[in-house]
Amino acid sequence: MIDWLKSQFIEKEQAEDRILVEKAKTGNRDAFGQLYLKYLAGIYRYFYFRMGQNRMQAEDMTEQVFFKAWSALPAYQEKGLKFSSWLYRIAHNLLVDSYRKETEVGKLSESYRFEDKSLEKIVVEEEYVVLHKAINTLTDDQKQIILLKFVEGFNNKEISDITGKQEDSIRALQYRALVKLREILGKENGF
């Protein structure tokens, strides 16, 4: 039942995307704006965690994806490649181009600092710091798979579309990443 509801939701989302994509292809900037805002946070996160949690760099790259996607959109054809996967593929390619320029692992970003530190937020922040450290122990490929799959919710086929990696390779990377995370998080939390 949950799977059925999930698939219905995904289909509805995709249908909405198709309408906006068609409008944007004809030069409708508002439609493109709506479409991009839908995926903005995910694209931003993708860069944020892959570029040393640097907020400014993540924003800059997110902006670049925005302009690149607009110019490339007339050539986009769905044909098995969802719009969101296509967008992340642009992000991935941009990251590959610029990755070597920026390897510094940043400190905890301002974007995740809470002004009003309720107990709940303090717990979340601490959990975030733990996860942050754990994620940074992963190789770049492992990090990419973990973020796309468990943070952004893509399946293996979609991750393959985005990264160009084989699904078998994605499964292997995912397994090794989870094993590593268990080791790190187990030490931190004692499980």
Binding site: R29, L37, S71, E127
Partner: protein, 224 residues
């Protein structure tokens, strides 16, 4: 690693979804950047171009077809009447032999007669033009009457013009005074046509069936 452990890690990772761009950055994208996107010409796919061409042809076909259809009921002095006349002229040019041409003029004479009936109460200038147009069709039908090979068509001419004369006599009885002159001209044309056709039938020595095409010839008064 067992399934429970794996799920526990996956659940913990979901907290990373809370990392979001600042509201200022979102506002920048939604506002300034959307409107700073370069405009680009609309790219139409070949399918769209082909579809547009098909639609244009269909549109022209239906619009022009609709105009042609509408023009068929137009009267002298109306907007679509010239189109009706143009189409008739084209039909006449396409007629391949004298018989076909005579039949076509006869049909057009029918058409002109209907126009005269419709205009019999209208202003005399338009009615006079309609009367002249009727006369032209009669003359056109009679143009080769003596050279027509088929007696059937000559018989039809005689019969038709006879009917026209009767109709015009009826119209004349009810027409206002200012229409009388024009309608009389048309009546004279139809009578002339009938006489010419009758004469042609009588003169044709090689036609053994000539008499059959003159209904009630033995008693002309019964024919009327």
């Amino acid at each position: 690693m067992d399934f429970k452990e794996e799920q526990k890690i996956i659940n913990r990772l979901s907290i990373l979804q809370q990392v979001e761009p600042s509201p200022e950055f979102v506002a920048k994208i939604a506002g300034d950047l959307v409107y700073s996107l370069p405009t680009r010409p609309t790219i139409k796919s070949p399918i769209f171009t082909f579809g547009a061409a098909v639609l244009s042809v269909l549109f022209l076909f239906f619009v022009s077809g609709g105009l042609v259809y509408a023009s068929q009921n137009s009267l002298p002095g109306q907007l679509l009447y010239p189109l009706k006349k143009t189409l008739e002229t084209a039909q006449l040019r396409l007629a391949s032999n004298p018989e076909e041409k005579a039949r076509l003029h006869l049909r057009l004479a029918d058409e002109r007669l209907e126009e005269l009936q419709a205009l019999s109460g209208k202003q005399s200038k338009v009615l006079d033009k309609a009367s002249s147009a009727y006369e032209e069709e009669v003359n056109g039908a009679l143009e080769n009457v003596n050279n027509l090979d088929k007696e059937e068509i000559v018989g039809q001419l005689e019969e038709k013009f006879d009917q026209h004369s009767k109709v015009l006599e009826g119209v004349l009885e009810q027409a206002p005074a200012q229409a009388q002159s024009s309608l009389n001209k048309a009546l004279e044309a139809s009578q002339k046509g009938q006489s010419a056709a009758q004469e042609a039938l009588e003169k044709n020595p090689q036609n053994p069936n000539l008499e059959e095409h003159l209904p009630n010839k033995a008693n002309p008064s019964e024919r009327r």
